[in-house]
Symmetry: C2
Subunit: 153 residues, 2 copies
DNA sequence: CCTATACATTTGTATATACAACAATTGTAA
DNA sequence: TTACAATTGTTGTATATACAAATGTATAGG
């Protein structure tokens, strides 16, 4: 279904059509991922933080590191981490070598829970991409990367 | 820049890479649009509601109509409209023929303000799509539409 | 040593949104 | 006509997020 049909609007200039389609489609994908995580009582953003911490392989991460690696920007990783602490999925300590920083570590419980969610999320990701073959997915990936290319002006 | 470089992660399966890239890129586009609207003190969602109401060409819209046409889903168009009323960009009345419904109309002030924002938003949309030519944009559009195609299973 | 500045994070305030509970109105059917 | 269900919106609670101000810590220059 075209995006014009989807949101019932008159024909749009291409740049507008693409902008709307991009946001609309991402929202659609977001819903599928959120749905997959719902039984685990974790938001997509909380899941992302956990996944980043697992990627650290035991090395603690400080807030700005997590922030840099988030898919969506956060002025507020502090409060996300607060919620993960309440669930006992991560621990937070003051960095001994530089007490301005904090060190955040995923716990055994966090790793365990993450493992249980992996399958659900992978299924959701497959669902999102199911309608395209590998070549098309690569192409789509490249087009998205190009879109974000910075101009030097 | 590839999405793996962007968020500093190990190589990912294609379905995950695309899912992340889609959310990341939409977020990037969202920021550009929000930035363009910032001088006008209007959020992207408020702008979208106004644009939908203008599309009604004088015909009032009720809440569920607006909801259907929103790019991002809303459990909460009520409160968005509240904010637009406070800015005197729209008015809300009870529908006389069916008093469960409400009728929402854009005001002259709303139309006027919208017109001023049009240029800023069009510029933002051009910026979002600047790195691709028409053919590529059409292709990207089609790939996004295909992605959202429902399966009948 | 003292102070200005930079750094890393936290907190307050506002917006957007999901979900569930609630309320009012209308339609239907015994 | 009364009971019940469906429709349409509103409201309460929780999460995510942007932005700005505040907090606490480190560092560099005088």
């Amino acid at each position: 279904m075209t995006i014009e049909d989807q949101i019932q609007t008159a024909p749009l200039p291409l740049s507008r059509k693409l902008s709307i389609n991009l946001l609309y489609t991402a929202n659609w994908a977001n819903d599928i991922l959120a749905e997959a995580l719902k039984p685990h009582d974790l938001s997509l953003q909380q899941f992302n933080v956990l996944r980043i911490l697992r990627g650290q392989k035991g090395k603690p991460a400080n807030l700005s590191t997590i922030n840099d690696r988030m898919v969506t920007k956060m002025s507020n990783t502090t409060r996300l981490v607060d919620k993960l602490i309440k669930k006992e999925f991560v621990v937070r300590e003051v960095c001994p070598s530089n007490r301005r920083k904090v060190e955040i570590l995923i716990t055994a419980k966090g790793l365990e829970s993450l493992q249980k969610m992996d399958e659900a999320v992978a299924t959701a990701e497959d669902k999102i991409t199911a309608q395209l073959n590998s070549n098309e997915l690569e192409h789509l990936n490249n087009l998205l990367n190009t879109l974000r290319t910075e101009t030097n002006n």
